[in-house]
Amino acid sequence: MTDRAPRGYDRLFVAPEHGPVRRRIGLDIERGKVTRFLVQLEYLIDPIADEWATVVRYDHDAEGAPEASHDVTEEGLHIDVYREGEKVDTHELTPPLPANKALKVAEDHLAAHLEGYVHRFEQWHGIKRGDR
């Protein structure tokens, strides 16, 4: 159920570095422009095996194949929702916008919906909350 790690980004940010939930950001920059990014919320579904699953993902790729990636400057920012290791839904969040702004929007959006996404993920995957 582990999702593939971001492929070959120039720079990766992971926060927090330890704990059962983390946000991973991958980034490529060329000549002052963000050419590719990934903002991904991940959940540690098996601490013993150190197995992580994607909860939601926002991405941008100006150079990738259209069927495999989003170009936010043409399509706007999307969020992909994952369940049981598979993408089950995609929502449009914005109209077309510059990639550097889309990255900020993705960050803001994830911060605003963090709890909801985590709780829904736990529900979907049978990870029951302690009290009720």
Partner: protein
């Protein structure tokens, strides 16, 4: 059974720590973008 026992939901405290780490990382991210010539004027609207 060990895997199921390990699958405990995250606590509110954990989520608060995640938020804190994300906020801190936001600054690092912004600085990194600026160092590489990306326009970060939109990133200074950082109020909560």
């Amino acid at each position: 059974m060990a895997r199921d026992q390990a699958r405990r939901p995250v606590t509110d405290e954990t989520l608060a720590n995640v938020r804190k780490a994300m906020r801190k990382q936001r600054k690092e991210l912004r600085d990194y973008l600026a160092e590489h010539g990306v326009d970060v004027s939109a990133w200074h609207e950082d109020d909560e």
